[in-house]
């Protein structure tokens, strides 16, 4: 039987992971991409993740990785070993999406300035991940490109600043902005989401990842339309956020309270944009007016 010979303990924001792997490769790459993160070896992790072959033969022949751990989806597709870092990322996301009970989880990217958080959520392809990476290079603190964690007791937003998962066009956009840098992981091609390259967030994102922020602005960006800022009603904001939350229903009344409080207290806008420059300008404008 394949044993978890290689392992790494990682803390990302308030969440601790134990990741075990049958192969050395994925853990080596995680070690590089997450070199600046705390390694709480002497702590009980929130979640355990296993990177192992879908069948014993697949350890050696056309090796592939099944995404397994404390929480699993029965129909999850295995990934080739070459995409190991993506498998690790998806496995961590899955633990959060299915198992997180302490925070209200919003599928959103988040950046911070002056102790206040800008939360961006939208459909896949809306550009929330790229936008947060862009802002992270422009004086904002990057707090995460996947999940915003809302503490139901305080209403504060906690970051989950994992390595940023750049997809397709976003890879070149960020390479042009940052230049050649050892902050980039390897380029993965032919993944279920197209080309993917990971980017280590800037140093302040990791150093300050334990600092929560007060949610100050909710944006629903949309790519591919002429620049515009549109108001959006509280009821629609609420509905959209319930759809973007993976654990709203499971948290029951606590989830409802946290979400209604967020919608009542935080201004929201929809923004349309068609290039990076217009997006940044719209963000800065709405932030100056509302946050």
């Amino acid at each position: 039987m394949a044993r978890m010979k290689h392992q790494i303990h990682l803390r990302i924001g308030p969440i601790m992971f134990r990741i075990g792997s049958v192969w050395a490769g994925p853990v080596k790459l995680l070690n590089r991409l997450y070199q600046a993160y705390p390694r709480p070896a002497v702590a009980v992790p929130d979640f355990t993740v296993r990177l192992e072959p879908s069948s014993p033969l697949r350890r050696w022949i056309r090796p592939n990785i099944d995404i397994r751990g404390d929480f699993m989806l029965p129909e999850a597709m295995p990934l080739p070993l070459a995409h190991g870092i993506l498998a690790a990322e998806m496995a961590m996301n899955l633990q959060m999406a299915l198992g997180q009970r302490r925070y209200l989880l919003l599928h959103a990217s988040m950046v911070e300035r002056d102790g206040k958080a800008l939360i961006m959520t939208g459909l896949s392809g809306a550009g929330k991940s790229t936008l947060s990476a862009q802002l992270g290079e422009r004086g904002w603190r990057f707090m995460g490109d996947e999940f915003a964690l809302i503490d139901p007791n305080t209403g504060h937003a906690h970051g989950f600043p994992r390595a940023i998962s750049l997809k397709n066009e976003a890879v070149e956009v960020m390479q042009a902005l940052i230049g050649a840098s050892d902050r980039f992981g390897p380029l993965l091609t032919g993944t279920p989401k197209g080309a993917i390259r990971h980017l280590m967030p800037g140093p302040d994102a990791v150093e300050r990842m334990d600092e929560p922020a007060r949610p100050a602005l909710l944006l629903f960006p949309r790519f591919g339309h002429p620049p515009a800022i549109r108001p959006i009603g509280a009821a629609e904001v609420f509905m959209r956020l319930t759809q973007s939350s993976t654990n709203y229903i499971t948290l029951g009344e606590a989830g409802f309270r946290a979400l209604t409080q967020l919608v009542h207290q935080v201004p929201a806008r929809a923004i349309d944009y068609n290039d990076t420059a217009s997006a940044i300008a719209l963000v800065e404008q709405t932030w100056a007016e509302l946050a």
Partner: protein, 333 residues
């Protein structure tokens, strides 16, 4: 038996052991408890014990998840109650839902996925109509699978509710029709405990017989640790309430042809969660399979588990029928 699995069983037996666990022990115990759907039971059992802060948080998470799962389970029971209102025959809850609705200790901490109910076999057509009319739909469209369930199994093919996305398993016997044993399902339904609200569950002795049949006479012991914990909790509570319970249990077990299995389950439960009674080699072999998860939540002992997989099939079907079934499944990929 892996060390980590034994630790989990030890904690369920004696929560006071919590003070002796290291960080690594806790990590492994929580991983296995999650994999075995026992983390809710562990959280309930460890209430009031001194545990590390990180462990306390994981157990709180489990309680949150548990509260949600149990609310959902109760709601599914209510939906079934409305669906069968006025049907004229009892709808008998089985397994986790029954423990929760009956207010048994085995229901505390119990995660429930599907709703399992037992009906008189001759009422299946009516039950099917009612369920389809109330929004449940067939999961398996495959004609062979459908035929397989109806011809040979002890339950209808699984149904999922189209709006609530929750599964219901409708049983009409206790074991597959092809099984060499035939517990008396008619008697179980006839002698069930009917509540005023129209819901029913098995009487205590039958509840044990049913749990034992599923753990030891059917299937490959997957989820066995949880099932054995259920049985232990049920036995303890029923014996506490009725000092003569064992007499009733044995007479009922004899009627269902399950005497040897009930005695074995009692030995295993007592060994693991009770008085540490010594076990023979055959029981130890069962225990090895029940406690086969390692500290990463992975199942180990592939040879033992394969043997139990074969055993499950051999118990379920006569050899030729088994060959035919496995051949059709293999050809379909």
């Amino acid at each position: 038996m892996t060390r980590a699995s034994s630790l989990l069983a030890g904690l369920l037996r004696a929560p006071g052991q919590a003070v002796h666990l290291s960080v690594k022990d806790w990590t492994e115990v929580i991983t296995i408890a999650r994999a075995e759907q026992l983390v809710g039971s562990l959280a309930i059992r460890l209430a009031g014990q001194k545990v590390p802060e990180a462990v306390r948080r994981r157990l709180n998470d489990a309680r949150t998840a548990l509260a949600h799962a149990q609310t959902q389970a109760r709601w599914e029971v209510e939906m079934a109650r409305r669906t069968f209102h006025g049907a004229g025959y009892p709808v008998v809850l089985l397994k986790g839902c029954a423990y929760i609705i009956a207010g048994l200790e085995a229901g505390d901490g119990r995660f429930v996925g599907d709703l399992d109910i037992l009906l008189p076999r001759r009422q299946l057509d009516d039950a099917e109509k009612r369920l389809l009319a109330a929004g449940w739909e067939w999961v398996k469209a495959d004609a062979y699978d459908d035929h397989y369930y109806r011809q040979w199994m002890h339950e209808l093919p699984p149904l999922i509710h189209r709006a609530r996305d929750r599964m219901i398993d409708v049983h009409h016997t206790i074991l597959p029709l092809t099984h060499r044993l035939e517990p008396d399902a008619e008697a179980m339904v006839r002698d069930c405990v009917r509540r005023d609200d129209g819901i029913a569950h098995l009487n205590p002795a039958d509840m044990i017989c049913h749990a034992v049949a599923h753990l030891l006479a059917d299937g490959d012991l997957a989820g066995g640790l949880r099932n054995l914990w259920d049985i232990h909790q049920l036995l303890r509570e029923f014996r506490h309430e009725d000092p003569d319970f064992d007499k009733e249990l044995l007479s009922r077990a004899a009627r269902h042809g399950l005497t040897a299995y009930v005695l074995q389950a009692d030995r295993l439960a007592a060994h693991l969660f009770g008085d540490d009674r010594p076990l023979g080699w055959r029981d130890r072999w069962f225990l090895r399979c029940i406690l086969s998860r390692d500290g990463w939540g992975k199942k180990t002992y592939p040879i033992t588990r394969f043997a139990f997989y074969l055993r499950a099939h051999i118990l379920r079907m006569p050899p030729l029928m088994l060959v035919r079934h496995l051949f059709i499944k293999w050809r379909k990929g």
